[in-house]
Symmetry: C2
Subunit: 122 residues, 2 copies
């Protein structure tokens, strides 16, 4: 059985942005933390809904027809198939909930891409 997890303590262990780290696993889903700053890449996930929960800072999630502006304490679920582009105008700390199969840049190949099997567990 895994120990309890402090999200702040996990986030204090790394500095890289846009590199999600796995901090928990249950029911085929991962809990991840990620630091965000600047613009991510437009992408979508074919099979996975993706939850973004902002712990610190702010995160804008651009959709093709609007944007969702998240403050700390707010979450948004991007349904599978929906193109999105996260943008952090200031440094932000974010929790992701999504299936263990989720590839971070979806169907897009990009410098940010990390295959699901290669995610770091911290």
């Amino acid at each position: 059985m895994a120990d309890k997890v402090s999200l702040a303590a996990k986030l204090a262990t790394f500095d890289e942005t846009w590199v999600p780290k796995v901090v928990g696993e249950l029911n085929g889903q991962y809990v991840k933390v990620v630091k965000c700053e600047g613009e991510y890449v437009w992408h979508h996930h074919e099979q996975e809904d993706e939850l973004f929960y902002v712990l610190k800072g702010r995160l804008r999630i651009l959709l093709r027809d609007r944007e969702v502006a998240l403050e700390a304490g707010e979450f948004f679920i991007v349904p599978r198939g929906v193109e999105h582009k996260p943008v952090a105008d200031e440094p932000a700390e974010v929790v992701l909930f999504e299936p263990v199969t989720t590839r971070n840049t979806g169907t897009v190949d990009h410098a940010y891409t990390i295959e699901a099997a290669e995610l770091e567990k911290i």
Copy 2:
């Protein structure tokens, strides 16, 4: 597509304790919020792992051989099959992440029991 969700705003809409409310759904999982105070009931879930994330206050999760004391910003995953009993010595606000099939008191019938299909969505 569901709107963004403020956990604090959802929690401000009710007072009952030990009555989880659904605030999000993705990949066959629910995101729930629950107010806790006092002792819950010993129970386990046969098929579901259950994540407890403390937003406010403190929550102790008693296991048969130890206890896990959670502060705000910490989470713990109770694996399926593991008996547990949440206890809040002070009022606490908690997020749950678990499959939509999860029955709140597991295999136990209790005054606190709410069938999964009867959970309130707020």
